[in-house]
């Protein structure tokens, strides 16, 4: 394995409290040291990171690669390239593949697909219940042993609270994290937009904020009851942030993330009936957005994620309610995080932390930091580079993003995963 020197970059490593210009030394796929040159270090490769930022590779807590089962939308090849170009070196795969990740065989298949795509740090999230139907527990231990990092309900409802309780108890007994997306099916009422002024005007079936906060409250009570560690995924409303804050104050072992686009877009940004804005949970109000930002800065919300959901063209072609929800978002993760910093919602250190240190902590991984001896997952990016979201600059198979055609500021130039360069931006 090569010796790599990354020189003259501004190193931002929140876990080790580093923010300064200096060199980064990598060998044998691991971090050797930061700033302090090790003895006899003659690098095989030198990467010039002048005027760029060097930070831990990003860890994405919610991602869909569409294989197995939906290769029409995307493949590991295209999406891992997207991840690499977005500076993401570790990602968690949601269990709603086809078939669902509820047997070790599927987990092993995923590992094979990851190997073939030469992107190894893909951690499947096991389904909480068999087929994600919310009735029978899945074989969580076998799945954990097959490499699943947590259990989750993807976006599927768990109808029966007794089942949820039992599933949480079982997960807790095997020390498994539950990654839970709260949504009450009945209150959600097959809606496709936030139940508010915009949905009313466009006659779109609405999802009230209560659908999320009520399911969140149910689960929080069960955390109290079962002792299961829970991470709440892709929250979207003010009252959810308040509940998480309160739960943490009460000493519950919970965490939360928010999808990056929820911090930038609201229901008012929805171009009339433009399915690029069809997401679940839906884009909510300005007040929700501001509160999510506050929660992110204050720590009630621990992490950012992409909630990457690439789609084929047909999935988005139709009247708004008929289209499939989801945004292809790995490649806009970094510039949108930087935009939050520019808008002074968070500091740069916090932004990097929410994408690296904090998700690592949630997943209990020795990762997300440039700690000596840890795997060399590194992201180097130019915070000033302007680029347009278009076919020339896009790796993902899914072009379903409301940011298509828009200018972004900040772009990854190099990504290293376990010391190997998996992405390098070509200069033309």
């Amino acid at each position: 394995m090569k010796k790599i020197l990354i020189k003259q970059g501004r190193i931002i490593d929140p876990a080790n409290n580093i923010d300064g210009v200096g060199p980064l030394f990598i060998a044998e796929g691991k971090i050797v040291s930061v700033i302090n040159e090790p003895d006899d270090f003659s690098p095989d490769e030198v990467i010039d990171a002048g005027n760029q930022i060097v930070c831990p590779g990003f860890i994405d807590l919610s991602c869909r690669l569409r294989e197995p089962g939906q290769s029409r939308k995307a493949t590991y090849k295209s999406e891992t390239r997207a991840a690499a170009s977005g500076g993401v070196t570790t990602l968690c795969l949601q269990p709603d593949t086809i078939p669902v990740i509820d047997t070790p065989a599927v987990a092993e298949l995923i590992r094979e697909l990851a190997d073939k795509a030469e992107y190894r740090q893909i951690y499947p999230i096991a389904a909480l219940t068999q087929k994600l139907e919310g009735t029978e527990l899945s074989s969580m231990l076998a799945l954990k042993q097959a490499g699943c990092i947590a259990v989750g309900n993807a976006s599927q409802p768990v109808w029966n609270l007794l089942v949820l309780r039992r599933a949480m108890e079982y997960a807790a007994s095997h020390d498994l994290l539950l990654m839970f997306r709260p949504n009450d099916y009945w209150l959600g009422n097959n809606g496709c937009a936030h139940e508010g002024t915009v949905a009313t005007r466009y006659g779109l079936p609405g999802i009230p904020a209560a659908a999320e906060t009520i399911a969140l409250a149910h689960c929080l009570e069960l955390v109290e009851l079962t002792g299961c560690r829970v991470h709440f995924g892709q929250l979207s409303c003010k009252r959810s942030v308040i509940k998480i804050q309160q739960a943490k104050q009460d000493g519950l072992n919970v965490s939360a993330d928010v999808a990056i686009h929820q911090l930038h877009l609201t229901e008012d940004d929805i171009a009339p009936f433009d399915s690029a804005f069809h997401v679940l949970p839906p884009l909510r109000t300005e007040a929700d957005k501001q509160y999510l930002r506050l929660g992110l800065a204050g720590g009630a919300i621990d992490s950012l994620c992409s909630d990457h959901q690439p789609h084929d063209m047909d999935a988005k072609l139709g009247a708004f309610p008929e289209t499939e929800p989801g945004i292809s978002s790995l490649e806009t993760l970094l510039p949108l995080m930087l935009k939050l910093v520019e808008e002074q919602a968070i500091t740069l250190m916090q932004g990097v932390a929410r994408l690296s240190t904090d998700p690592a902590r949630i997943l209990q991984l020795n990762s997300g930091a440039l700690t000596s001896g840890w795997t060399a997952d590194v992201c180097i990016f130019d915070p000033e580079l302007n680029w347009q979201v278009n076919a020339d600059n896009w790796q993902s198979s899914g072009i379903n993003t409301p940011f298509w055609g828009k200018m972004m500021k900040g772009r990854v130039t190099h990504t290293l995963q376990t010391g190997k360069t998996i992405f390098c931006l070509k200069k033309d």
Binding site: G196, A199, T200, P208, D314, L317, G318, A319, F320, P321
Partner: protein
């Protein structure tokens, strides 16, 4: 918000999808144009050659005999060739079949689609993806809009009451699921109505309904005070089985328009209904057939308004832009 895709580069009507984004001037022009078509029904020659040689396709994904026939008649009176297609939507019908249907018809050189669909946004989708020379008229999409109905109701109101700025209008019934209500509220506010009031039980009102520019009442007799125009909405039977209302008789007791309840409005108030009427559910027969009812006038105005909208949407098509 995006530019108003309903207008062409000269600000003239190209698509008619929703009242939203259209100016008072344009709405008034539609009403005036319809005026000139009104006299035609009495004439011996009911046709004019305005759209001769043009092909209009009525694409009805949702069944409606009454709306479809008025659009057909309107198109024929403009001397256009008309094709009516009723497409049953299966539960798996998605963007593919919608687009494929459009493309197949475009290949036969059509000029206009009149679209009715059960899903909000369908007409916008078709307008966005149809060939550039084609105009799209929304004949009702999901819960979003039914702009031609709103215009014919505005026309009827103007015929009788003349001045919108003094009018207080009540819309009564299932506002939540009503595309007619949404379009009427927009039209009334754009034309400068003094007040638009919605009267309904809370379960039948959409969230933040006031943001549409209306005042709200949950009580019929209070809500009818000082009202000049009453627009009744149809109550669909399905509402009774989806935990929205307990029963038809309870609804009728609270919100049904009877002769007695009608007295709470102004004495010269008019009663309108976009149809079809559920007698004894939202409105009493005596009122529907009574002297204050203008329901039949609405029906006969329907053709003239649709002729006006179709003619206006097809004009300027000869110009190279």
């Amino acid at each position: 918000m995006t530019d108003n895709m309903q207008l062409n580069s000269e600000g003239k009507l190209k698509h008619f999808l929703t009242i939203e984004g259209l100016s008072k001037g344009l709405l008034t022009e539609i009403l005036d144009t319809a005026e000139s078509f009104i006299g035609m029904s009495d004439q011996q020659v009911k046709k004019v050659p305005l759209l001769r040689g043009k092909t209009i396709v009525n694409l009805f994904f949702e069944n409606s005999t009454r709306t479809r026939t008025t659009f057909e008649l309107a198109a024929k009176r403009l001397s256009a060739d008309v094709l009516s297609i009723s497409i049953a939507t299966s539960s798996t019908a998605k963007g593919e079949s919608l687009l494929d249907t459009i493309r197949n018809l475009e290949a036969m050189f059509v000029d206009m689609f009149v679209v009715r669909h059960a899903i909000s946004g369908a007409a916008h989708f078709i307008a966005r993806h149809a060939a550039p020379h084609i105009s799209v008229i929304n004949a009702g999409d999901g819960q979003h809009a039914h702009p031609t109905q709103a215009m014919l109701d505005m026309f009827t109101i103007r015929q009788i009451k003349h001045d919108f700025s003094q009018l207080r209008v009540a819309i009564i019934g299932d506002i939540l699921h009503s595309r007619v209500a949404r379009s009427e509220i927009l039209a009334l506010n754009t034309l400068g109505a003094a007040e638009v009031r919605v009267i309904a039980p809370k379960t039948l009102l959409p969230a933040h309904v006031e943001s549409l520019g209306v005042s709200v009442s949950h009580n019929l007799t209070e809500g009818l005070k000082d009202i000049d125009v009453i627009i009744m909405l149809r109550l669909q039977k399905e509402r009774m089985t989806s935990a929205l209302l307990p029963s038809e008789s309870e609804y009728f007791k609270c919100f049904g328009l009877t002769e007695e309840k009608l007295t709470y409005a102004k004495p010269d108030a008019i009663v309108m209904h976009p149809g079809p009427i559920n007698r004894g559910v939202e409105i009493d027969s005596k009122v529907a057939d009574g002297p204050q009812s203008v329901i039949l006038k609405q029906v006969s105005n329907g053709i003239a308004i649709r002729m006006a909208i179709m003619a206006m949407a097809m004009q300027k098509q000869g110009l190279a832009l």
